[in-house]
Amino acid sequence: MSAVMITRKVRKWEKLPGKNTFCCDGRVMMARQKGVFYLTLFLIVGTCALFFAFECPYLAVHLSPTIPVFAVVLFLFVMAMLLRTSFSDPGVLPRALPEEASFIEMEIEAANGNVPAGQRPPPRIRNVQINNQIVKLKYCYTCKIFRPPRASHCSICDNCVDRFDHHCPWVGNCVGKRNYRFFYLFTLSLSLLTIYIFTFDIVHVVMRSVDSGFLNALKETPGTVLEVLVCFFTLWSVVGLTGFHTYLISLNQTTNEDIKGSWSGKNRVQNPYSHKNIMKNCSEILCGPTYPSVLDRRGVMQQGDSPSLTTAATPSSTSDSTVPQTTKPTAPLIPNEHTPDDAKPSIATSTEISTSLTEESESTAHKVPPLASPETDVEASIAKAAAH
């Protein structure tokens, strides 16, 4: 009896740590909770559908045919920006592989020196100088890295995200370096769309009222009433949000930094990332380069490969000869004449150190409260109002 093993190609996204959902074989990356995202989609598509059904036929005939055309263009742009924000990698930083993690551990131990037994080791902080300001980099116990400046760990998605802004439940994803500009364009275009629909709803009702009276007009276009309701509540939150993010962009700040008050107050460090010029700050964010994703989601996993940090023993299978860059050490460190005098412990013992350290409290690593951003508080209340 011979069994034929058909090995399926396993892509790297299937083995990524963190609480993300992936679709389309790794092309789409979102957070786990998508309920509010579906609500956003429903509200936008539903309201626009009502607009095209009730307003557009009347206004195209009585005012101008360009009105529905422009509405379609705006609607498509809003949807494109929403989907782009929701489906793209926000700038997730991959977790450190075992060798890198142990290298960092050794550096930390070297910096801390000997800590007497029973005493807590000092917090893991690295000071760097950025544009002549001292910025503290915090160590992430989950990802086993010193977070780059402006990165933060999202507790909902369980990932460190570069230039972390906030986790937005309305788009079902984190907003970070790679998708901030799409998020901003989404809020901006949605504001325009909301104002557009609201304005033409009013125009439509007024024009009909001139002909047949206000109450009759409402009876003829029941959809308009619904649209006006949705637009009225959406307007305040989305326009406010756009204004807030315009303010942040002009100062080159993130929502996360604004909430924590990182750069405000006299005793604090001034924002080292700001170019002190509104145009330069805006152009950096909106016209800057499109950063690549460093998570190789669709790459094919090789045997013995592990994209995440595992605290289990390293697998004994040798790496595939076609992919050299994830070679596992096949022998412990052999002291020879080239080993420096401060001989480092072998890789095996250092993985033991990292295992014990993961058991330390991880609550300090998860800094960002999920719904603490101002706009989500407003939107949460709007959602409650809209739901009733």
């Binding site: 991959p94 016209c287 380069p289």
Partner: protein
């Protein structure tokens, strides 16, 4: 010091890994991608300082080119925005083009400079653009009793 015994194929297939060194990011100018040119002490006996610094400086220049905000990036941003970013379905971004150049450069450096010295540089993009990982392989050129231990381990690795 000449340890001209390795080529890239040999390193990847049979040499045993001794250690890994990680060159960290340099944040002194902000969050743009730049690596420290400080020469790691573990490499002192393996490669010349100038060669290493040259490699890191060239990589830094590549990244600076990719992240430069100028006429080219404005044009790219405007074209992309006007097509709702759908243009990137058929066109490569500037950053992706530079990343390909970087991959080629690292491959070339590995073949010409580092593999003959028993070292291997990993492309930073494979490590989240956080570090340049340099793998140090056993040095065939070492003499004396230590070579016996390293050759025995070498043979057991096979």
């Amino acid at each position: 010091m000449a340890t001209e015994f390795h080529n890239l194929q040999e390193l990847r297939h049979s040499a045993s890994l001794v250690n890994k060194v990680f060159v960290q990011r340099d944040y002194s100018e902000g969050t743009t991608c730049k690596f420290q040119t400080k020469f790691p002490s573990e490499l002192e006996s393996r490669v010349e300082r100038t060669l290493f610094e040259e490699t890191v400086k060239t990589l830094n220049n590549f990244y600076a080119e990719a992240e430069k905000i100028g006429a080219h990036s404005y044009l790219e941003a405007c074209v992309a925005c006007s097509t709702a970013y759908l243009v990137f379905l058929c066109m490569e971004t500037r950053y992706e083009k530079v990343l390909k150049k970087i991959a080629k450069y690292i491959q070339e450096q590995n073949e010409k400079v580092y593999a003959p010295r028993g070292l291997l540089i990993t492309d930073p993009i494979d490590r989240g653009m956080r570090v340049i990982e340099i793998s140090i392989y056993e040095d065939r050129g070492s003499s004396g009793s230590s070579s016996a231990s390293s050759s025995t381990s070498g043979s057991t690795a096979r």
